[in-house]
């Protein structure tokens, strides 16, 4: 199911002009610093915000076309929305909250599907409770379930984890991953956190000052974040567990470009694992370093050198089929005379495994 979005609007001095297209059903992250216009975009998709000019088409159904004076009201858009503050109805039990959207859905989920959502989100023991008796994480899960059971055609998530602390966030993310892997429901996920985007998203639309700064697959896009954007640049790598070296307490992850060694993971060989390597965690060497403590040294080719405004330079690397980015000082880049096409060795100081199943 494709999603086409075009919006143009002015809020006082802030101009919003966003255009992007998602061709296949996947998790699209709207990523950018706060104030970039992310929430306005999802509100426009949901119909809660009507831009001065805009056109939104979801899977061939036109939701908004200001040119044709068409604006389908939110109650008919079938866009499930998970709000940052969950917005559960305080006068209803969890069960009645879940049923609210289900009752009003065009095609109601059957009992098996309902049971599945309740099981997927771990809501079984919460059904009779009022929302005020729920923790933040439980509220987020109920809000997610409520949106899912309204049989939406797209799921909009506006920083659904923002109100939670890091531990709670880690508790919810696996649910979202399961949702992504088990349903083919397109999702638009608003976030300003690289960790979340790296873990959940397939496609990233990067917003900055009300405009689309970049769009692309998550594996490419995070390498392009510039210093000072409030987020750590880095690369997301899709790997599979290749082998365990239990005696040494290590696991090997294979990917198109080599192998990475990480602390032992509780995953079966062959299972897919997304890992992230931050730009600051990569050192570059022109010759293969031999006597070195780092476990992960990958052969790569420089594909671009971008000097930032500060003392740093971002070096884009191609390593097999994947892209990496290393943030080193401009002085080092000049000393090593790094040029596109040059073979180098990327010494990886640490690999972040975000998934924690």
């Amino acid at each position: 199911m494709s999603l086409d979005v075009f919006l143009r609007h002015r809020f006082g001095a802030f101009a919003l002009e966003v255009e992007f297209r998602i061709a296949r059903p996947c998790v699209t992250a709207l990523f950018g610093p706060s104030g970039a216009g992310k929430t306005s975009v999802v509100n426009a998709i949901a119909g809660l915000f009507r831009p001065r000019e805009g056109r939104i088409v979801l899977g061939g159904r036109t939701l908004l076309d200001t040119g044709a004076r068409l604006c389908i009201p939110p109650e008919e858009r079938r866009a499930g929305y998970v709000f940052q503050d969950s917005r559960l109805f305080p006068h209803m039990s969890v069960e009645d909250n879940l049923r609210f959207g289900w009752r009003r859905a065009a095609t109601r989920a059957g009992p098996a599907e309902i049971a599945h959502v309740i099981e997927l989100l771990g809501l079984g023991h919460l059904l009779k409770r009022p929302p005020r008796a729920l923790s933040g994480g439980e509220k987020a899960r109920v809000a997610l379930g409520r949106a899912l059971l309204s049989s939406p055609e797209v799921l909009l998530l506006d920083e659904p984890l923002a109100a939670l602390d890091a531990a709670r966030r880690g508790e919810i993310l696996p649910y979202l991953e399961r949702l992504r892997d088990e349903t083919r429901l397109p999702m638009v996920y608003v976030s300003h956190l690289v960790e979340e985007v790296a873990r959940i998203a397939d496609e990233v639309v990067m917003l900055r000052d009300g405009r689309v700064a970049a769009q692309g697959p998550v594996f490419d896009l995070l390498t392009r974040i510039e210093a000072g954007e409030g987020a750590a640049a880095g690369a997301v790598i899709d790997t599979a567990v290749a082998a365990h070296r239990a005696a040494e307490g290590l696991s090997e992850l294979g990917f198109d470009g080599g192998r990475l060694v990480v602390p032992l993971l509780a995953r079966a060989p062959g299972e897919r694992v997304r890992v992230r390597v931050r730009a600051e965690d990569i050192l570059l060497a022109c010759e293969e370093p031999r006597a070195i403590s780092a476990n992960n040294v990958l052969a790569a080719t420089v594909s671009a050198v971008r000097a930032g405004a500060g003392p740093h330079a971002d070096i884009q690397l191609a390593c097999g089929g994947i892209r990496l980015v290393a943030r080193i000082t401009r002085a080092s880049a000049e000393r090593l005379s790094l040029r596109p096409g040059m073979p180098v060795y990327a010494v990886i100081k640490s690999v972040i495994v975000d998934s924690s199943n």
């Binding site: 949901a46 119909g47 809660l48 009201p73 939110p74 109650e75 008919e76 858009r77 079938r78 866009a79 499930g80 929305y81 709000f83 503050d85 917005r87 109805f89 305080p90 006068h91 609210f100 959207g101 009003r104 859905a105 065009a106 409520r146 949106a147 309204s150």
Partner: protein, 227 residues
């Protein structure tokens, strides 16, 4: 001096309660509609409507009683028509007392409900919209249930005010024992009678007990709803 209520006292008490219940119940749907109109819509002349709704708060009750007499008297336009066409008569009848009480206490209900509607979280309304709930659906299933504490507050305040209404009732429907002589009118009558001070004191005490019982009940209801 306490002992049992005399038949006259019991009559006045029951009449007061009946008038207040009917007045509050009859006014509630109109108060809700008016509150929704004032809280949720914009239309030209809204300020004027708002002013008219609040008029009974500032007008002397006697003036309202007189106006009711002018409009609903059996020889007046509306009153005459109602009497001729349907045989409905408000003057000198307890229903007239209820009508006068309803009008006087209408602003209390409207204000409380409107306040509850205006303090409602628009975010919940937006959430309900994304879940497929239309306008009326949201009003019935979300807005009004959430405004329930406000609605109850309005009902209680209006009920209490009804029990105390005097001027409009005596002007509009006179002081007829068993028909329009509510507690305040009975106290007034006792004071007009030589040696009636004891009776007035008994009735006043009855009013105090009633008021206290009612306020306690109201507080209890509020706590249950707020939980």
């Amino acid at each position: 001096m306490f002992g049992q209520l005399t038949p006259e006292e019991a009559e006045a008490l029951l009449l007061s309660l009946r008038v207040a219940v009917v007045a509050v119940a009859a006014a509630l749907p109109f108060a809700m509609a008016t509150a929704v109109l004032l809280a949720r819509t914009r239309f030209p002349g809204k300020l004027v409507v708002d002013g008219i709704v609040h008029l009974p708060l500032v007008l002397p009750p006697v003036a309202i009683g007189f106006l009711l007499l002018v409009v609903f008297g059996t020889r007046a336009g509306v009153g005459g028509w109602l009497y001729q066409a349907f045989g409905i008569r408000f003057v000198f009848s307890w229903t007239g007392a209820a009508l006068a009480s309803a009008l006087i206490t209408f602003p209390f209900q409207v204000r409380a409900i409107r306040l509850a509607l205006e303090s409602a979280d628009p975010g919940l309304d937006a959430a309900a919209r994304t879940l497929g709930a239309g306008r009326l659906d949201r009003l019935v299933n979300l807005t009004l249930p959430l405004a329930m504490p406000g609605i109850v507050t309005g009902l209680i305040t209006a009920f209490a005010a009804c029990l105390g209404e005097f001027g409009a009732i005596i002007t509009f429907v006179s002081n007829i024992p068993g028909e329009t002589r509510t507690l305040p009118l009975a106290i007034y009558t006792a004071l007009q009678t030589p040696g009636g001070e004891t009776e007035a004191a008994r009735l006043s005490l009855l009013s105090i007990v009633l008021a206290l019982a009612f306020m306690t009940l109201a507080e209890f209801a509020q706590r249950r709803l707020r939980r």
